[in-house]
């Protein structure tokens, strides 16, 4: 075999088709940044490059010895004085008691997430009347118990100071009655003037709200409902209409697929229903189970691409050609005529191998594309139809209702608005002045609408231009329902009384339809809707009251399909579609040397930007680049070298008439001439957190053939000479060349039949208690989605520190997801490794603490005692895993850190069972010791022994792929014990003899090779 063959876009190339589905072989060398790859690992201390915020970068110290003594004397006296009298504390019990509200005891209620239109079922923890923690509803057959980072963070958006406190009329606060009067008047006027009334909403997954809208349509023939998603699947719906006669988004089953091909669809990160897909994907990728093969073609490195067996960088303009190349091969195998011959955009041999694998697994494969081009989606439909996947891995009979946006209808509405044909425009959950490509046209059109109303929770970019803002409740304050997938229902109930003078959007709609009193109450409507439309469809329960109570308690109801017809055979038309793609590629102007492609994507943290004012999400390191608090222009390492650009150099990117200036980030695996930029940043009216963070690139997206294009060709790049440092955590802690991540193959696993004996230890055996808490983390299941990071932050009151502090390596997250690359910088493979305190039994931190503020407990926990800690930071220096976090400042109630913990409203999210740490103390992962104590207490209350699975840590609970398992290592039958006995288990830096209680399961590469 010739290993020195031609280099392909995917890096290494070999001749046999088997090897084309392997991206790397042999023992890999890992690196975290391009610099480390080129210059080798650097041995650094706690602070590479000197003490951050020291004499050179911090404010000059002007305190003299005299000042110090004076201050010390004063503070001693003050301490003595304040010690004499304790502040008087009050306790105010309820006037009338309730058997359901016990102070200090949490209640859990099922509801439905409205963080995005995926509509995941949730179980929300409510403590003393406040929702404080979001988790997935394990009863849901679609989503399981997992969540995403954005979903976890929605609880903080409830306590957002940027929310409106009541309705606004012409920018001034008004009463609901006044506003209703104005709106009813305007609706009458529209009727008289024969102008249309339009409801522009995001994807509406709520069946009862749809029923309200439909009723409005029946009562007013000039009423129209348009659904608008800034990042839509509009082209897919159109393509499915042409291919199968059904304008719908299918429900995908990644768990049934043995071969998965993704064409720029980030289905594990942001695309359509990532929590559900991550769960399915993990179940089909278990190495023990003859795992599925995954090939991803994409321009920029996405979460999904980073998990693929083979990732092929492809420019956005070439994705259509890639689909055609696959279709031609598969059509050939199927013995039908395929699209005309055209040049392959990527290595032909690799495409042959992919087609071969797909063909071998016909009926159990899946090709998905994130393209918003009808022709591309039609070609993908043809591939799936030829492979017999329709009805198997792709379900159109029970379609998904999670993306209904119709780009063409929105474009038509904007035209109508410009012509002044719209009398009343109601905007519900959308912000087109921020995210519509031609936002100026939308803003201009808005002025010609007689009356425009926004139902958004804040005076956002669009809100500033409308006549009235009638703020909707946050979903944790509201009733509701959802049908994310046909006949899979999820109910929503309020967790807290509305904090402000807001009103449910549905109440507003009912009111404006002319209903009064009880008739305008959405809760009544919702119950009636369920009584009439959903209750009769089930047979188990004879009484509606029982059905309603049970549905509300469980949160989810799954019924037999309402009888959507299974799609027939694929219609023709894909050949024309393929020809169209090929021709438009030929017709495209040939670029010169300064011609690049732009690729726009939703980031895992901010998605389309609707939660931009959420500091947790702004500070969440991107799963791939680990950049916080900004978007950036991701460019390939080779291009950066050629243009002499470094991380943080500001470049001007021009596409068509529009230009943006962004800092550069050198992203390994980025397609050579494509620049990827995240959407959702650059909000100007979301609130103080989102202000001046990143740049809005929605204006650079354009409509082509009625569909929004999330890419642009012929863009130019010019260096501005400016510098805007990026706060990336990727290189915060160096591996120093040590083996932190390990991977293996199934063959190797079989060979390693015996585990090496435990290393001898010089430490005395310590007295062990009843339990020994430990964790097993499966690096095959972890896809890097970062839901656990936010879950941990919410559970453990982890503060937000801001961009400046992150640049100084002071991020406070207790759990981080380390991203390791191996292979060539053009297209490396990645490993994601969640890293938190390893709870060493022989802990290096413990031996260096002069005040015994960190000790290993009898239950195997490495405990940090905040009130003992004097802040020497010796422990952090001595920790080989770099998981200790120091409170350099008071992050609570400190105007310098103006995030959620500064405001009384934002502090309502804090978990009362966990201390808020103050300045000068060290903190780190406690393995959710508050949950351990609670679990033991609940077992005591129930008079039963503690069972495996009774206690879940926050990270474990949030994980959609169940990559983290927590439990008692003393119980040989616990899941964690079983996993830690597995052949794949290893401890990070085992040879140091720290004996961590956290074990990792080695990543198994390319298990498909066995079949």
């Amino acid at each position: 075999m010739d290993h020195h063959g031609e280099t392909t876009p995917a890096g290494r190339s070999c001749k046999s088709s088997k090897d084309l589905l392997v991206q790397i072989g042999g023992p890999p060398v890992y690196w975290k940044s391009v610099d480390e790859l080129q210059n080798g690992p650097r041995v650094t201390g706690e602070f590479p490059g000197g003490l951050p915020g020291g004499a050179t970068s911090g404010p000059r110290a002007e305190t003299t010895r005299r000042d110090f003594l004076a201050l010390m004397g004063f503070s001693l006296a003050a301490a003595g004085l304040s010690g004499c009298r304790a502040p008087v504390q009050h306790a105010v019990p309820l006037l009338v008691g309730s058997d359901q509200i016990v102070p200090g005891v949490s209640n859990y209620y099922a509801t439905t997430c409205r963080g995005c239109a995926s509509s995941c079922s949730l179980l929300v923890k409510q403590r003393d009347g406040r929702p404080i923690k979001i988790d997935g509803n394990a009863e849901s057959s679609l989503f399981g118990g997992g969540t995403c980072a954005g979903g976890q963070a929605t609880v903080l958006s409830l306590y957002d100071d940027g929310r409106l406190k009541g309705p606004l009329w012409q920018g001034k606060s008004a009463t609901w009655n006044e506003i209703d009067g104005h709106i009813l008047q305007a609706l009458n006027d529209a009727q008289t003037a024969q102008k249309s009334v339009v409801l522009l909403s995001g994807t509406m997954t709520s069946p009862s709200t749809r029923a309200i809208v439909a009723e409005w349509g029946r009562s007013n023939p000039r009423f129209r409902h348009v659904e608008y998603d800034p990042v839509s699947l509009s082209a897919m719906r159109q393509a499915n209409k042409e291919s199968f006669g059904q304008a719908a988004v299918p429900h995908y089953s990644f768990d049934k697929a043995k071969v998965i091909v993704g064409l720029d669809a980030d289905f594990l990160g942001t695309w359509l229903s990532p929590v559900e897909f991550a769960r399915q994907y993990a179940s089909s990728r278990k190495p023990e189970k003859n795992a599925a093969l995954h090939i991803q073609f994409e321009p920029g490195m996405s979460v999904t691409g980073s998990n693929a067996d083979v990732r092929v960088p492809v420019a956005p303009s070439q994705l259509g050609a890639t689909a055609i190349a696959l279709l031609r091969r598969i059509a050939h195998k199927a013995g039908t005529s395929g699209p005309d011959q055209s040049a392959d955009p990527v290595d032909s041999a690799r495409l042959d191998a992919v087609a071969e694998a797909l063909w071998k697994h016909r009926g159990e494969s899946l090709v998905v594309s994130g393209s918003n081009e009808v022709a591309v989606q039609m070609v993908v439909n043809a591939i799936n139809a030829l492979l017999g996947n329709i009805g198997k891995t792709i379900d159109l009979a029970r379609p998904s209702r999670q993306r209904n946006g119709d780009d063409a209808a929105v474009a038509q509405l904007v035209e109508e608005m410009a012509l002044g044909h719209v009398g009343v425009l109601v905007l519900y959950g959308v912000n087109p002045v921020y995210d519509y490509p031609d936002s100026q046209a939308f803003a201009a059109g808005l002025k010609k609408v007689a009356l425009s109303v926004s139902l958004n929770d804040r005076s956002d970019e669009t809100g500033a231009l409308v006549n009235a803002i009638c703020p909707d409740h946050h979903f944790l304050e509201a009733w509701g329902d959802a049908e994310p997938v046909e006949s899979n229902f999820s109910l929503a109930q309020p967790l807290i009384a509305p904090l402000f003078e807001t009103r449910a959007a549905q109440d507003s709609l009912l009111r404006w339809m002319g209903r009064e009193g009880e008739q305008s109450n959405y809760y009544t409507y919702l119950r009636e809707y369920w009584r009439k439309d959903i209750f009769p469809r089930q047979k188990e329960l004879p009484s509606f009251e029982v059905f309603w109570d049970q549905s509300l308690q469980r949160g989810v109801v799954t019924l037999a399909s309402a009888g959507g017809a299974a799609p027939g055979p694929i219609h023709g038309g894909w050949q024309e579609a393929a020809n169209k793609i090929t021709q438009s590629a030929k017709a495209a102007p040939q670029g010169n040397s300064n011609s690049y492609e732009l690729h726009f994507y939703e980031s895992v943290a901010l998605r389309d930007g609707r939660q931009a004012n959420n500091p947790w999400l702004q500070e969440l390191p991107d799963p791939i680049s680990k950049v916080t608090w900004s978007n950036y222009a991701a460019i390939a390492p080779a291009l950066a070298a050629q243009l002499k650009l470094e991380n943080g150099d500001v470049v001007a990117l021009k596409a068509g008439e529009k230009q943006v200036e962004l800092p550069v980030f050198i992203q390994p695996g980025q397609e050579g001439r494509t620049i990827s930029i995240a959407l959702g940043y650059g909000r100007t009216a979301a609130g103080k957190v989102a202000e001046n963070v990143g740049v809005n690139v929605f204006p650079l997206t354009a409509l082509a053939a009625g569909q929004r294009r999330l890419s642009a060709v012929n863009a130019s790049l010019a260096s501005t000479g400016g510098k805007k440092p990026l706060a990336s955590t990727q290189t915060h802690f160096s591996m120093e060349g040590r083996p932190i991540v390990l991977e293996t193959s199934l063959d190797e696993l079989e060979k390693e039949s015996e585990k090496p004996e435990a290393l001898p230890t010089l430490w005395a055996e310590r007295l062990q208690g009843e339990h020994s808490w430990g964790m097993a983390i499966d690096m095959n299941a972890c896809n890097g989605c970062s839901a656990c990071v936010i879950a941990c932050q919410a559970e453990n009151n982890v503060p937000v520190v801001g961009k400046d502090q992150i640049e100084r390596i002071r991020i406070m997250h207790w759990i981080r997801i380390d991203q390791y690359y191996s292979g060539p910088a053009e297209n490396p493979v990645s490993v994601h490794q969640p890293m938190m305190c390893q709870h060493c039994q022989n802990a290096p931190c413990e031996t260096v603490c002069p005040v015994l503020a960190t000790t290993t407990s009898s239950e195997g926990l490495n405990a940090q005692v905040y009130n003992r800690c004097i802040g020497t930071r010796y422990c952090a220096n001595n920790c080989p895993y770099k998981v200790r976090r120091f409170n350099w400042y008071n992050y609570t109630d400190n105007p310098k850190f103006d995030f959620n913990m500064e405001s009384p409203l934002g502090r309502m999210v804090l978990n009362p069972d966990v201390v808020v740490r103050s300045r000068g103390v060290m903190e780190k992962c406690s393995m959710c010791v508050q949950r351990i104590q609670l679990g033991k207490n609940l077992a005591l209350q129930g008079g039963r022994p503690l069972a495996d699975g009774d206690i879940q840590t926050a990270c474990q609970q949030s994980c959609p792929t169940q990559a983290i398992v927590f439990g008692d290592l003393k119980d040989p039958n616990s899941r964690v014990s079983q996993l830690q006995r597995s052949q794949r288990n290893y401890q990070v830096l085992e040879d140091l003899g720290t004996r961590p209680n956290v074990g990792y399961l080695k990543k198994v590469r390319n298990p498909m090779e066995r079949s």
Binding site: H90, V92, P93, L94, L95, P103, S926
Partner: protein, 191 residues
Amino acid sequence: MRLQLIFLTVIGLGLAGGAGVWQFSKIGIHQSYSPKQPIAFPHKVHAGDNQIPCLYCHSAARTSRHAGIPPASVCMNCHNIMEKQTVEIEKLKEYVQQQRPITWVKVHNLPDFVYFNHSQHVLSGVACQRCHGPVEHMEKIEQFAPLTMGWCLQCHREHAKVGVTEFERVSADLKQRQKPAAGLDCASCHY
């Protein structure tokens, strides 16, 4: 004379210093703290004379970290039908009539960095009086124990399961069926 003056000064300073140190050692300890309450509620009458069980009013102590002060509605369970009227009972009724919650002054306060859970102790069979003192004899409630860490640990040490010999371990295991062992780990209370 001069020597005497120096001697007296030294003694004076020493005494003052000693008193200061003693005073400093008392910082944060509020034993026998007994603030005035909005209603002069006599525990003696309720828990003592009428022998109402503690957990009738403080029912949350069974399930929650907080023992909880009963809602006024619980008071009214009895006072609705009781004939006896006093000035203090009038006050209670006024609160209820005016739909005004009662702002009690909290007597037992722990620092924020300690986690204490009532239910864990109640279910382990620790009598309320062990920490709260003879409440049934108190006309006005006061803080009985110092509530210092040393005081907590004294009891925890007595009830910790430290089995050295096999016999001790087995007998501790047997005892533990009724009462779980008290934790001695820092993380039992500090997190």
